[in-house]
């Protein structure tokens, strides 16, 4: 190759000298003053708030049938962390992990940022004009309009929809949720005349019987139910009253994992088991049947017949019946969301017989919710061209409706279609107009719960060019020349002024409103519920239909929403995708869970891909052999297999499709088939080994055993001699106690920690390599045989050992000990040798193998907590006991010239834990809660024999199974 003219004239020497000179110049110029950026103060400072100090706002979270009060921590106007609002009378400060995790959804870069028309960017003027035109047209020409939304318990939204219906007589509003317990609502509607969700008061329950109910896991009110349940688990002496949880289930749920007595049964047998139990209670324990129900009608459900058909031992059923009778009004029976209406009816019957119905029906929240059956009818109408306009707000039928072909026909049959939603999702792609709405953290609203009306208020200005959907509807009303408020906030306030505020209150409305905003809502005396009358007719029908039903003998498949991504609404959320499932520990996937016996029979092992089919629908999924799964029962999570979203795309399989042939609103498929394919697909799991191999890590004793032992019956290792000089902690010494008896393994703490501590998401490939970054993991162990193991959960995080093995091996002193007993990790010193992690007996240190965060751009970076360093590549990290919160509390105390009060510091995991299992505080203060809890006689420390002196104390799990002599 010939060089261009002049190049060859440069000699090597000259080239080098030029190179050197240019380098010197570069170095010289970069030595000039470092650019430190600008400081931009407010022009006009907001009335409240000091830069650098967190401000908290109360708001309300809603997801399907769940309503929870939240406290949003904001810094300089942006929300950075969510916790429960204790002022909320119904949720009492308990918050679902998905609410905490949905903070990431606010900053999701995939959110639709402006109106789009047929794939082309548009603007709000055109969008609202188009919406107004078609609605005005529909009003004048008396055309039918379909408005599809998700569930809502907002009185103001209900009023707004009522106004809209008055203006548009052709409006058909359908509230639809793809994975909500519609059968439960339907059962209540049939039995009591109003659709409601039964929420038992588990604080009063001595015996809890669950038929496939995952009330500690994925059911709507789980956080409060976990709290109620755990309130009767943390015994401090063997004589403390403790509840007993019986679980009858097919596929292993988190609730089943926490059961004292777990009975495996096929879901199709649940209803007859419940009726058999009712018959048993009536015949052998003479509990009265409700009026109008003839005992003879139950005769079909003879114990022997039912137990033969369900392989549940008759003796076990008798034991259960005796236990329930002993509990009487304090016995509670729950039916799971996946079960059909008949099972819910049967459980209502049992509660009526026990007399616990009156406190189980605390939650008189009527929801008018359509299931797939009702939506199918509506979509068929749409396919016939009966609707002129379709507005799809929130719910995502294009993804979650089981029959995609029908959906296609329906959407093609509607001439004018509008999508109001956060994303350009499956439904949006099928609609002509895509209108972006506010995230709930940017919106106004109100939500009615028993005893409380919660307010939702925006905690951040809109990040994108979005609008609140209610504002759009108000604009439509105005477009139809109907006098109404100009914004939804005005509408809300007007409704509160007339509906919630009582004239003659000692405070003016504005103060009342402001204090409601401050508290997150107002308390209301829950109207004393008239005692419910059980209508025996639907029960009779249920009895008949169960009698008529034949066991297909096929594989039964249970579909349940995923713990993280739920029904698919959080599929684009990295935190919730990477959250290990509390039972399987699988992330980023929805494997098909099958029993060990079935796996052996079919010759399947973990990660073999199978095709699951039900009717004509098929889904491919890898297999996961789930210990404790009843044989002949498979399970798969809903919410995966999305077709849009940069994170959600192509993760797992869309199990909704399997519901296609179902005629009722249950989530149990009675005759599914699985056929193996030759491929394999890796399941990213955070735990590979599931047994303790004889070591006493997560200790668990039966209550009877606990009663007989002294000092927990376990020897504590005397402190052995150590080469490390003894550490002294003159002031405070921070410590934690984890009550394994209260902990149900729900994993809320994992998400709370992730949000608080800027923990990155690594993705499925890295999880497969064991490089997940969670500072808390919940170890889950199986004990006993594969087919019916007992399950233990153990939250595991840095134990802040006094004689920490990690510290002595660090060559650069990046991990050292603080005078208040913390094992400090100094990121800026760390050079990434990973010696510390190798020497850590708990394996709780996490290494940044890659730079997970610096490529992120706004709005993603806004989610970071400014009080915690964002770690770069090559740096080790681990739990700090939320040092930022400790420091803040210490500074506040110093400022107010006092000591830090016990309970003042709540690390994120403690705040997120719905069961109250984690206690944090000063171990040097004998009066602190953590000191007291750490001295309970079921306390122990992990790997004490190593002489590392952990600062974390575990309290052994106490199980409450039926005593052996009762069994005999």
């Amino acid at each position: 190759m010939r060089l261009p003219e002049g190049i060859d004239a440069i000699s090597r020497r000259r080239f080098l000298s030029l190179l050197a000179a240019s380098m010197a110049l570069t170095a010289g110029s970069s030595c000039s003053r470092i650019d430190r950026g600008k400081i931009v103060p407010y022009t006009r400072k907001p009335a409240r708030g000091i830069p650098g100090v967190s401000a908290f706002y109360a708001s309300t979270f809603q997801e399907g049938l769940a309503i929870q009060g939240v406290l949003v921590r904001t810094r300089e106007g942006r929300p950075i962390h969510l916790e429960g609002n204790p002022e909320h009378a119904d949720s009492r400060g308990m918050l679902s992990l998905r609410a905490t995790g949905d903070l990431l959804g606010l900053y999701d870069p995939d959110r639709l940022g402006l109106p789009v028309h047929k794939g082309v960017r548009s603007n709000w003027q055109d969008a609202t004009k188009a919406l107004n035109n078609v609605l005005s047209d529909a009003r004048l020409m008396d055309k039918r309009v379909l408005l599809l939304t998700g569930a809502s318990a907002s009185p103001s939204l209900k009023a707004l929809l009522y106004d809209l219906r008055l203006a548009l007589p052709g409006l058909r509003h359908v509230a639809w949720e793809p994975a909500a317990p519609v059968a439960q609502l339907a059962a209540a509607r049939a039995l009591f005349g109003k659709p409601m969700i039964s929420r038992p008061d588990l604080r009063r329950a001595d015996v809890i019987l669950s038929f496939q109910s995952d009330f500690l896991g994925v059911e709507p009110d789980a956080p409060v139910l976990i709290n109620d349940f755990a309130s009767r688990r943390g015994v401090s002496t063997p004589t403390d009253p403790m509840n007993r949880l019986w679980v009858v289930e097919g596929h292993m749920t988190l609730t089943g994992a926490n059961a004292d007595e777990r009975i495996q049964a096929r879901p199709s047998r649940m209803t007859s088991l419940a009726f058999a139990l009712a018959r048993l209670l009536h015949r052998e324990h003479s509990l009265p049947l409700p009026a109008g129900l003839d005992p003879a009608e139950l005769d079909y459900f003879d114990l022997d017949r039912v137990s033969a058909a369900s392989s549940v031992k008759a003796s076990t059923m008798r034991l259960l019946a005796r236990d329930l009778v002993r509990a009487g009004q304090s016995g509670v029976v729950l039916a799971g969301a996946p079960l059909p209406m008949e099972a819910h009816a049967a459980c209502h019957l049992l509660n009526f017989m026990l007399g616990s119905e009156k406190h189980i029906m605390d939650r008189a929240q009527p929801f008018d919710l359509a299931g797939n059956v009702e939506l199918k009818e509506i979509l068929e109408q749409a396919a016939r061209g009966e609707f002129a306009v379709g507005i799809f707000w929130g719910a995502n039928p294009a993804y979650a409706f089981p029959d995609p072909a029908l959906w296609k026909r329906a959407i093609n049959g509607i001439p004018e279609t509008f999508r109001i939603g956060l994303y350009e999702d499956e439904t949006a792609l099928d609609c002509a107009w895509r209108l972006p709405e506010h995230h709930w953290l940017e919106s106004w609203g109100d939500f009615e719960s028993p005893g409380f009306i919660g307010i939702r208020q925006p905690v951040s200005g809109p990040l994108h060019n979005t609008r609140q959907a209610e504002d759009l509807l108000l604009a439509c009303l105005r477009g139809m020349r109907i006098q109404t408020q100009s914004t939804y906030l005005e509408y809300l306030k007007a409704r509160w002024r007339s509906g919630v505020y009582v004239p003659g209150m000692p405070v003016p409305f504005e103060s009342f409103w402001n204090s409601a905003l401050h508290d997150g809502g107002v308390r209301r005396d829950s109207a004393q519920q008239a005692s419910l009358q059980l209508n025996p007719e639907p029960l009779r029908k249920a009895l008949e239909s169960v009698r008529a039903e034949a066991d297909s003998g096929g594989l039964e498949l249970v579909l349940a929403p995923a713990a993280g991504v739920h029904d698919g609404r959080y599929s684009n959320n990295g935190w919730l995708n990477e959250l290990p499932d509390p039972v399987t520990k699988a992330t980023w996937s929805n494997p098909l869970l099958i029993s060990p016996a079935d796996a052996e029979r079919l010759g399947l092992k973990d990660e073999d891909v199978v095709t699951v089919s039900s009717g004509t629908a098929t889904v491919d999924a890898p297999v996961l052999v789930q210990p404790g799964q009843a044989s002949g029962v498979a399970g798969i999570a809903l919410g995966y297999g999305r077709r849009t979203g940069n994170v959600a795309l192509a993760i797992g399989a869309n199990a909704y499709q399997l519901l296609k042939g179902l005629t009722g609103d249950s989530f149990v498929i009675r005759s599914a088939r699985i056929s193996r394919s030759n491929s394999r697909s890796a399941i990213p799991r955070t735990q590979d080994h599931h047994r303790m191999e004889g070591r006493d890590l997560a200790r668990s004793w039966a209550l009877a055993e606990y009663a007989k032992t002294v000092d927990g019956g376990k020897t504590h290792h005397a402190h052995t001699a150590s080469l490390i000089p003894e550490q002294k902690f003159p002031g405070q010494k921070w410590g934690m106690a984890v009550d394994l008896s209260k902990c149900v393994g729900c994993s809320s703490c994992v998400i709370g920690c992730q949000s608080e501590n800027n923990i990155p998401v690594v993705g499925p490939e890295r999880v497969l390599m064991g490089r997940e970054m969670h500072w808390i993991r919940i170890d889950r162990y199986y004990e006993g045989d594969q087919q019916s193991p007992s399950v233990r959960h153990q939250p595991m995080f840095c134990q802040q050992c006094d004689d920490a093995p990690c510290e002595i091996v660090c060559p650069v002193n990046a991990t050292t000990h603080s005078p208040d007993g913390l094992n400090q990790m100094t990121y800026n010193r760390c050079v990434g040798t990973r010696y510390c992690s190798n020497n850590c007996p708990f394996k709780v240190r996490r290494f940044n193998f890659f730079d997970y965060t610096s490529t992120k751009k706004e709005p993603e970076t806004l989610v970071f907590n400014p009080e915690v360093t964002v770690r770069p590549r090559g740096v080790m990290e681990k739990c700090t006991f939320c040092i930022q919160r400790i420091q803040d509390a210490k500074q506040n105390a110093k400022h107010e010239a006092r000591q830090v009060r016990d309970g003042e510091i709540t690390p994120a995991c403690v705040a997120a834990c719905p069961s109250g299992a984690i206690v944090f505080g000063d171990l040097n203060d004998p009066e602190s809660a953590v000191s007291k809890v750490s001295k309970l006689d079921r306390h122990y420390r992990l790997l004490e024999e190593l002489g590392i002196k952990p600062s974390v104390t575990y309290l052994a799990d106490i199980a409450n199974p039926v005593a052996a002599e009762d069994k005999a």
Binding site: R33, P51, S818, T826, Q891
Partner: protein, 194 residues
């Protein structure tokens, strides 16, 4: 084989003179550049031109306006804070309204356009300095920020390296008010790093 031999013979020749001289040159360059670019040299005395020539010599100096009148966050927040333009206008809506710089300020205030000051003091992201305990312990602002009340244009007085922090935390007496009970500041990592 022959080629290799020649190379190593050349190398021996080089090693007599060029190698030692080269090594010394490299060492001298490294040390020289290191010495010349030591942080104190560039950090101290940093005195950028600000968008509004606000004089600390006049306001806290001559007029004796307390520091925390404007930097009001210092006692209650990690950040001392830069006052909102509004705060300047508290006085300047009536005082010196004819000055061109004040007119500039008033125009910013009216338009709501942000006023972008040049940042002078800047700590690395992994250092979580908190003004609260220091101000509340009675340490004067001047201890770290220098005699700001005499500066027409504010410059950085202290290099604000970790040695400055630790020096004072180990022996804080000179910075404290007489009679203070404080003997030491914390020296462990988590005191400032998280």
């Amino acid at each position: 084989m022959r080629f290799k031999w020649e190379v190593s013979r050349n190398f021996l020749q080089y090693s007599k003179f060029i190698l030692p001289v080269g090594l010394v040159a490299v060492l001298a360059t490294v040390l020289g550049v290191g010495w010349y670019t030591q942080p104190d040299r560039f950090v101290r005395g940093y005195e950028p031109v600000q968008p509004i020539p606000y004089s600390h010599a006049l306001h806290p100096g001559t007029l004796r306006i307390p520091c925390q009148y404007c930097h009001s966050g210092a006692a209650g927040s990690r950040y001392a804070g830069i006052p909102a333009v509004e705060k300047c206008m508290n006085c300047h809506s009536v005082t010196r309204t004819d000055s061109p710089e004040i007119r500039k300020l008033a125009a910013l205030y009216e338009s709501g356009e942000p006023l972008q000051w040049e940042r002078i003091h800047s700590l690395p992201d992994h250092a979580y300095f908190d003004h609260r305990p220091h101000v509340n312990a009675g340490i004067l602002c001047q201890t770290c920020h220098g005699e700001v009340q005499t500066m027409d244009v504010v410059y950085q007085n202290m290099s604000m390296r970790m040695s400055n922090c630790l020096g004072c935390h180990r022996d804080p007496e000179y910075a404290l008010q007489a009679g203070s009970t404080i003997v030491k500041g914390p020296e462990h990592c988590y005191a400032c790093h998280r």
